[in-house]
């Protein structure tokens, strides 16, 4: 969870340049070795602006909790994941988190996100600590929706159990992430998926976020579901929407993004802890699954996008699913999600945790997995809304499936569609962290707001909403960035995915451990694959690989010059005179002529010794 100040360097540098402190900026650049951020990236001012907004919207308490949770490090990440899961209710928090992350390398962003998305954070924290759950719920409910509360309550029960599951899941998740990519077996998955999905999603989410921006998408999708859920539950209540809307711009973006980013960061840094956290938040699970898949698999990008789509679809579906009538829809959505989740679940299931976790998750899952669980267990209220929600969920699921398919094929391709666009944003934000975070967050916010609206109106908006979100000022940069990120992701995922997948099971624990120590490092590593730029930024302290560091090698004054002048070679003098002016191609040309034997050096003195002896001799 440690903050990486280096992540901010590019923005500070840009800020200095914007302020026309050229000399200062240059010095700063030299000292920090920071890279110049893309023009599309948000500026320090915009980041600060969004942070202020999020701050206002969210309660101080939330912030405090978030900060605490973040400080806890890996736990925070896991908590963030859990938050994400819980965040379904609150999609906004992730955005905030993303923004925050972007602003700050990771920790700071998380903190800010925490502030913005107190609910998420609070939720996360509790799971980690186990103490906070109620507070989280409250926060969530306050931040956004009553539904979230209900879901949270459900979730709350499981949290304790979730933790263990989460841990187990984490390992499985990696494998599951791959499974999730398979996504298309939802039928079986639905029941198990729900339980599994939450876990898997949680785990993956962090991973996704870190490695890829896709996590953002997921988070957004999560948010959507949460919103949907809220909407479903609260639909009658106009407050949720208003709240959401109000929150969305600042809080939503920050919260969703932040959650995602947090999750990602946390997951990257501390997979194990994250896993625990993940268990806490069922909602976050679906997204998490998607994220892990991305990380682990080459298809991560597509998976992530799929996941996001799925998650969004799930979220939508979930809302309908809760009602009970939605079951079919839920299944579909579940299938989409479950494909990943189910796969994950299968892995999870394999692990003993899954069983226990599943049961618990089922209760917890309410928000995310709920769809399936609801279907089987129509426990959720909001029947009145259910039909609508179902309808929405179906369309969404359709969209999600389409988007997912497109995304799977190519995240960039898919990005064209509404669904893809959000993922892109998220993906971009993740890699770009600071830059895209704002845009992503905005997109997330928009999406969340849109989702809310849609939920109230219909699910149709989702895609449109996403698009609109993208269009929104904050989002402006996102589309391009998203496409870029998508492309990057693809590449990265392709190259990276195999390794992650391999590592997935084993690596998760190891990775988590390794990541744990350097919280920032994990994020950077994840980012690196997704986007070299970000990684570079993180590694601002990064130095190019060198076998020999000029500064560290002490060169004896006797050997301080390798030039011809240091020796008395009369025969080679003529060659030196012609070659000393040459370079590159001309040097090669001149030397080739001498290789032919046409060189005449004059007299050879066989008794001169020009070598430099070492001291010991």
């Amino acid at each position: 969870m440690s903050v990486q100040p280096s992540a901010l360097y590019p923005y500070v540098y840009r800020f200095l340049v914007d302020c026309k402190f050229k000399k200062l900026a240059k010095d700063f650049k030299d000292l920090s070795k920071s890279k110049i951020p893309d023009a599309n990236h948000p500026t320090l001012l915009s980041l600060y602006e969004s942070w202020l907004q999020t701050n206002q919207t969210k309660k101080c308490d939330n912030v405090v909790k978030k900060t605490q949770a973040k400080k806890r490090n890996s736990d925070p990440k896991s908590s963030s994941e859990s938050e994400d899961s819980s965040d379904e209710d609150e999609a906004v928090p992730p955005n905030k988190a993303q923004k925050l992350v972007k602003k700050e390398s990771s920790d700071s962003s998380e903190d800010s996100s925490d502030d913005s998305s107190d609910e998420e954070i609070s939720v996360k924290v509790p799971p980690v600590k186990k103490v906070a759950p109620p507070a989280k719920k409250q926060e969530e409910s306050s931040s956004s929706e009553e539904e979230s509360d209900s879901s949270e309550e459900e979730d709350d029960e499981p949290p304790v159990t979730k933790k263990p599951m989460a841990v187990v899941q984490k390992k499985p998740t990696k494998s599951s992430s791959e499974d999730s990519s398979d996504s298309s077996e939802e039928e079986v998955k639905q029941p198990p998926k729900k339980t599994v999905t939450p876990k898997a999603t949680k785990k993956p989410v962090p991973v996704k976020a870190k490695p890829e921006s896709s996590s953002d998408d997921e988070s957004s999708s999560e948010e959507d579901p949460s919103e949907d859920e809220k909407m479903e539950v609260d639909k009658p209540i106009t407050k949720p929407k208003a709240k959401v809307e109000a929150v969305k711009p600042p809080a939503v973006v920050a919260s969703t993004d932040s959650d995602d980013s947090d999750d990602e960061d946390s997951s990257d840094e501390e997979e194990a802890p994250k896993k625990k956290v993940l268990t806490k938040s069922t909602n976050s699970k679906p997204p998490a699954k998607a994220t892990p898949v991305k990380k682990s698999e080459s298809s991560d990008d597509s998976d992530s996008s799929d996941d996001s789509d799925d998650s969004s679809g799930e979220g939508k579906e979930e809302a309908p699913a809760k009602p009970a009538p939605v079951k079919n829809v839920v299944k579909q959505t579940a299938a989409a999600e479950s494909s990943s989740s189910s796969e994950e679940e299968s892995s999870d299931e394999d692990s003993s945790e899954d069983e226990g976790a599943k049961k618990k998750p089922a209760t917890k899952k309410a928000a995310i997995p709920p769809p399936a669980s609801y279907d089987t267990k129509p426990t959720k209220p909001a029947a009145s809304k259910k039909p609508v929600a179902i309808v929405k969920g179906l369309p969404k699921s359709m969209d999600s499936s389409d988007s997912s398919a497109s995304t799977s094929d190519e995240s960039s391709d898919s990005s064209e569609d509404e669904v893809p666009a959000p993922p892109k944003n998220t993906s971009k934000s993740a890699p770009k962290k600071a830059e895209s975070s704002s845009s992503e967050s905005s997109s997330d916010d928009d999406s969340s707001s849109e989702e809310e609206k849609q939920k109230t109106k219909a699910t149709k908006a989702l895609t449109n909403g996403n698009l609109s979100v993208i269009k929104t000022p904050k989002a402006k940069s996102t589309p391009k960035a998203a496409t870029k990120s998508a492309v990057k992701r693809k590449d990265v995922s392709a190259s990276n995915t195999p390794v992650p997948s391999k590592k997935a099971k084993k690596g998760k624990a190891n990775d988590s451990v390794s990541e744990m120590t350097p919280v920032s490092t994990p994020v950077s590593t994840n980012k690196t694959p997704t986007s070299g730029k970000k990684s570079d930024k993180k590694s601002a302290p990064n130095t190019p690989f060198r076998r020999v560091n000029d500064d560290e090698i002490e060169v004896n004054y006797k050997f301080s010059s390798n030039s011809f002048e240091t020796k008395n070679d009369s025969w080679g003098k003529a060659a030196y005179d012609t070659l000393k002016h040459t370079k590159g191609k001309s040097f090669r040309h001149e030397k080739t002529k001498k290789k032919r034997g046409s060189y005449r050096g004059g007299n050879i003195d066989s008794n001169t010794v020009n070598s430099i002896r070492f001291d010991s001799d």
């Binding site: 240091t566 025969w571 050879i604 070492f614 001799d617």
Partner: protein
């Protein structure tokens, strides 16, 4: 007229333009199209081959004024990075019929030429193997007096050390040509050489002298040292 060089086995052909030459082990045969110089001495003809310092780093070291190459007639030399065998052929001239040259080259393409050279020069034992794995050719190589290395690999000191541990006699010598850009092209050559020398010192290889290969090679240096020197008397 040809006169011997300070390094035994190496000669200088005097004339309008002096040239570095070695006594051809296989009269009438050229290895890579080099010039032949025939000298009639007491009714018998002796053939020498010109040795171009722009094509051979060992020749560049000799012309540049290295103090000792530790190769003389009758010596056994392990030559790492033999390539096509052009320099190896001159080393085989230097060590003569009493000496031996174990020529290690990993590239099969170059190794083919090397084997063709070895076919006519019986004191060359070609070994087409990776010099990183001396155990693969340990059955072919006996103890040697000198190791010459021109492998241009980032870990070349390690490679030389591995072979020295296996085949180089105590107080034997090594001659290493270092191409700075093969170690680290971003660092200053002098720093690269210093770091390589430091590595040698950690492998019981005591460097004795270093010399630039300018103007024959760019950013190259040759380091000559002794392996497992006696406590007091470091020199051969």
């Amino acid at each position: 007229m040809v006169e011997p060089h300070r390094h035994s086995g190496v000669f200088i052909a005097r004339g309008k333009e002096d040239a570095l030459v070695t006594k051809n082990l296989v009269p009438g045969d050229t290895v890579y199209g080099e010039k032949k110089i025939e000298v009639e001495n007491d009714g018998s003809k002796i053939e020498y081959r010109a040795w171009n310092p722009f094509r051979s780093k060992l020749a560049a070291a000799i012309l540049g004024g290295i103090e000792s190459i530790h190769m003389k007639p009758g010596a056994k030399v392990l030559y790492l990075g033999a390539a096509s065998g052009t320099t190896v052929s001159h080393v085989s001239d230097i060590v003569g019929p009493e000496g031996l040259v174990y020529a290690v080259e990993f590239s099969h393409r170059s190794g083919r030429d090397l084997i063709n050279v070895a076919k006519k020069r019986t004191n060359i034992i070609p070994i087409i193997e990776d010099a990183r794995h001396p155990h693969k050719y340990r059955m072919l190589v006996g103890m040697v007096d000198t190791i010459f290395a021109d492998v241009a690999q980032p870990d070349q000191v390690r490679i030389v050390a591995l072979n020295a541990h296996n085949f180089l006699k105590n107080t034997g010598h090594f001659v290493i040509s270092i191409k700075a850009s093969c170690i680290d092209s971003t660092a200053k050559p002098e720093a690269v050489f210093a770091s390589e020398v430091k590595k040698m010192q950690g492998e019981k290889m005591k460097p004795q002298e270093q010399m630039t290969l300018e103007p024959y090679e760019r950013d190259h240096a040759v380091v000559v040292g002794i392996y497992r020197p006696p406590p007091k008397n470091k020199n051969k």
